[in-house]
């Protein structure tokens, strides 16, 4: 049984009912006070009663405890709606040409499959592959190099990156403030129309936190909801646990660490990305990148920080036969002095079959994530 959608819908229905009931009571009181008994024309300019509806956010049963501090930003239906509107608004870029969703496309698990490196405003090309967005409440750090550790601070970076949205946070806030489009939404979410850094960023966080993927075939299997894996998928899972899960571990399929996976250096010097080293300046962190989750991995091509691989077959081939030794190579990729992970081509195919069970079709087509 799907773990949350029904409950969410029920919760929302209850919420709507409560609002309607409340409104009815208010209206009945008002018309009582009017004393004439004549029908009251609804006045749309009347003061909106500030009352938020808590958003029914639920942790999937097979997931660990969250990292995000929900107490500092309680999710509301109004806050999530505001965040979603901002996420899909081109106004967040300098020339109004791109929105967050330009690179983070819901049908691709919020990744961008058309480009190996990110594509920003004015056709500017970035330095890294666009990561998908999912299950952010469990993330301890963000970006391939972990330069950001607080989801609330994340959106500032793409907004201000000169090859992404190319604006300044101050200017974007001014545009949001002056547009008129958001007056009612800020009022509904926060009680007044004031647009602050805090409110703007936290509403984006609210929407992003609702982007949870936990309904793949694997999840239904994991939660014992009556789904079974095929023989090949089951073989793949066994191989995955033995060979991949020390880094891509747990139900989130990542340990959140930074590792050097022996990718051959690119021929172009400008693409020589030292990863985590840029953040810590520690020699040991050279060419280390964040271990990505593998949920929806079949839909989030291309792969690696620089998007060098287009298919999962290429990725598996890299681990089986393409890993290059270097000073910072992860020890797990150099067991017993042998570089790489010994996997036959059948093993590789079985693992890929398993990885495809991580595709969450409900998530990819969830209308709540659409504009």
């Amino acid at each position: 049984m799907p773990y949350k959608r029904n409950k969410t819908r029920r919760g929302r229905l209850a919420g709507i009912l409560a609002v309607v009931l409340f409104y009815a009571i208010v209206v009945s009181c008002q018309s009582g006070a009017e004393s004439g008994g004549a029908p009251v024309t609804p006045d749309t300019t009347a003061t909106v009663i500030y009352k938020t509806t808590p958003y029914n956010w639920k942790k999937p049963a097979n997931f660990p405890d969250v990292v995000y501090d929900f107490a500092s930003n309680p999710l509301t239906v109004e806050g999530v709606a505001l965040g979603k509107a901002l996420f899909y608004d081109n106004m967040l870029s300098y020339d109004g040409s791109v929105s967050c969703s330009f690179c983070h496309i819901p049908g691709s698990a919020f990744a961008h499959t058309d480009h190996s490196l990110s594509h920003g405003f004015r056709d500017r090309i970035g330095a890294r592959n666009v990561p998908g967005i999912e299950n952010l409440a469990w993330r301890t750090n963000f970006f391939w190099d972990g330069g950001i550790v607080d989801l609330d601070l994340l959106p500032i970076s793409p907004i201000q990156n000169p090859v992404e949205m190319g604006d300044t946070l101050a200017n974007v806030l001014a545009k949001v403030r002056n547009s008129g489009k958001y007056t009612a939404m800020f009022k509904a979410a926060y009680g007044t129309e004031e647009v602050t850094t805090d409110r703007f960023l936290k509403s984006l966080s609210q929407f992003l936190l609702t982007v949870v993927s936990a309904n793949s075939k694997y999840d239904k299997y994991s939660r014992k909801e009556g789904t079974t894996l095929t023989d090949q998928e089951a073989r793949g899972l066994t191989l995955f646990k033995a060979n991949c899960a020390s880094c891509h571990n747990g139900e989130l399929f990542t340990d959140g660490s930074f590792r050097n996976n022996g990718l051959p250096k690119p021929a172009t010097a400008s693409l020589d990305d030292q990863g985590r080293y840029a953040i810590t300046l520690q020699e040991a962190d050279k060419y280390k990148f964040r271990v990505p989750s593998l949920r929806n991995v079949d839909r989030t091509l291309p792969y690696m920080h620089d998007g060098r691989f287009q298919t999962l077959e290429q990725v598996l081939k890299h681990y089986a036969a393409g890993v290059e030794d270097n000073a910072q190579l992860d020890p797990l990729l150099k067991k017993n002095g042998t570089v790489g992970i010994p996997l036959s081509s059948q093993d590789q195919q079985d693992i890929i079959a398993f990885l495809r069970t991580l595709t969450d079709y409900d998530f990819l087509s969830n209308p709540q994530f659409q504009p």
Binding site: G146, L153, S157, D198
Partner: protein
Amino acid sequence: MRHAFFSSFLLLILSVAFLSACRTDPTEPAASTGSIQLRFKNKVGDQPLQLNGGTYTNSSGEPFTVTTLNYYISNIKFQKTDGSEFTVPQDSSYFLVKQSDSTSQVITLRHIPVGSYAGVTFLVGVDSVRNTMNISRRTGALDPAAGGTGMYWDWNSGYIFFKLEGTSPKAPVDATGLNAFMYHVGLFGGYQSRTLNNLKTVRIPFNARVAQVTASGAPVVQIKADVAKVFSGVKTLSIAQTPTIMISALSADVASNYAQMFQLDAIQAQ
């Protein structure tokens, strides 16, 4: 008669008690506290710093001009002559001094206990706690959207503590055709992994002088900030050799240097 005298005496005592109760009202601490001002005078050697104007020479003999000078002053504490210390409350202790904005160079601190002060200490930069605090607590000078200051690294979350930008014929020509140099120093020690910690505490003793905080007068502590020291405070830095220093090991040298740039200029009683 006697009774009436007693009653009026009682009334007098009562009203005195009432009045003094008003005076000790915690929301009006006027009698026990006063104000003090820190005024930052940015200079190069003994010359006043002029943005985009004056040409100066650093200790490597390199001529340079300054186009931007911004730095955070935070976590201010005052030392009394009796050896005790007063810490300005955290939420009121973050200031961004900008050469382009003369009002930002004057920091007025209120609710300072009345007394004789012998020195001040402050942090150049933003402490690690505030660097990792919830966005709701980052207001005023710490708001990442604070207009046009560019004192926040969005890709490696943290504040830029100190920013010096300028031009020099010794700097290579950049993409915009300018011989530009820039020093952007931040890094508070890291959150999940250790990074450089470029936070510097500066202590300025008033020496024989005393800043007298009273209920009515606010002493002014004038602090000279000598940009020349940024190139020579501890380690000599050459614009020709390192025109751009941001997130690199060299940022520690810039930080050690600028920690030497602050000196007491004067104390004025006002």
